[in-house]
Subunit: 255 residues, 2 copies
């Protein structure tokens, strides 16, 4: 990993562009799933109290994908997260003047941070009970928000979140989802709950099962889930090799 | 449209960054379809004779989507093309030193163009018999290349092309395709040829028909295609309203 300079907030406003690519930023939309709930991870700025997506800048010699991972870790404490690039936002009205971080009082003159920024969006989907969000020095708080109760965010971050959600929803038709979100052995209703939670709508049980089995990445086990009041449902697990292959090639639903 | 400065090549190397966003470019992958052939539009640099994707830079106050449209029109003459943003390439090894355009002899010192560039990729799919590619002043030639016979391109343009093709192939499972590529009334075999050409593989006739009809955007007409030796096949057309809706919401193949 490329070494990051240690700058005070004033130094960052004054000369950050000596270390970072100008007019380019990264924003991360981290979706959290847990038993029928979909949430998104937001940071709150210390001074303005405004909420935003965890974001940051790209070092001069850094790959943008590596920057996304570093930024997420620095700002929220989350590491080892697979980040999916989904869209780049390039409206000229995206300007720092509506940002949550105020220019420190001792910084005079124009700062590189008040320029227009193009931002590259990444999303990830994590089991939120398994991670421990921790705010960085700039932030008052770092917490999960219910996807339907997100507050007004800085800049165009609400629009970025909407686009990320659309991208995630399309993605689950194209690529397998669930490996790190479900127990190793799971029932078809558990898988359906995951899809329904991401899609935000109910799905037909029989169609869903047919579609899932046709993807060819599920393996039905001989053992059944015990303990319920109803007939014990079958347990499934993902076929690791086929899952990995589908991650690369897409599911394609067989036309 | 924002006014573009008129600069000589030397001026462009020396002070282009007064007008354009530094370290950010746009590259367009234009796929051409015509009766079972898939091609890609490439430009050839005048001085180095190297081939590349049509690309360019973003004006300080310009939306990146507008920049893509302007760049495509300036460099190839193609206009009114719907461009789809697909990926942003941010490897630090993407540097202008391996670019096709040489720095003019009268430009001394470092140029903004020799910095590392992050590039935003856009693709489009056009009926190539309907457009007339025209090279710009920097280019010797602008022509269609068979997708399987693309030469070695500058920088990482071959990798950008591959990624665009993957994106296009995933896209046709998620969104409707064909409106400007097929006659207004077409047969199922004509639609299948379009899909097979884009996917680069043969598809099963019955599965294909079933899948296409299940998307709910096709209307079967009463009239049949005349003139063939075989039984006259049904004609179809796209249901405009449903096609437009599916362009926005995705096809989702009904789970």
């Amino acid at each position: 990993m490329i070494k990051q300079p240690r700058l005070t907030l004033s130094e960052f406003f004054e000369k950050g562009d000596q270390f970072y690519i100008p007019q380019l930023s990264i924003d991360c939309v981290i979706f959290g799933f847990h038993e029928g709930e979909l949430k998104v991870l937001l940071l709150q700025w210390k001074d303005s109290k405004k909420w935003c997506l965890p974001g940051g800048f790209v070092l001069k010699q850094e790959h943008i994908d590596d920057a996304a991972v570093r930024i997420l870790q620095n700002r929220t404490g989350l590491n080892n997260i697979y980040l999916q690039q989904f869209y780049t936002f390039g409206d000229p009205e995206r300007a720092r003047k509506t940002h949550g971080a105020r220019k420190p009082g001792d910084v005079t003159g124009k700062s590189w941070l008040t320029e227009r920024f193009i931002t590259v969006g990444y999303w990830a989907l994590v089991e939120f009970s398994k991670v421990d969000p921790t705010p960085d020095d700039f932030s008052l708080d770092c917490k999960w928000w219910d996807i339907n109760k997100v507050p007004s965010l800085i800049l165009d971050h609400n629009a970025i979140l909407d686009k990320a959600l659309s991208s995630l929803r399309i993605h689950i038709y194209d690529y397998p989802v669930g490996k790190d979100l479900l127990p190793q052995k799971f029932t078809m209703p558990e898988l359906q709950t995951l899809y329904e939670t991401i899609l935000g709508k109910d799905l037909d049980r029989r169609n869903f099962q047919k579609k899932m089995l046709s993807m060819g990445i599920l393996e039905r086990l001989k053992e059944r889930k015990q303990g319920g009041a109803h007939k014990a449902p079958y347990l499934y697990r993902f076929d690791s090799k086929k899952y990995q292959l589908a991650m690369k090639q897409g599911l394609k639903f067989g036309i």
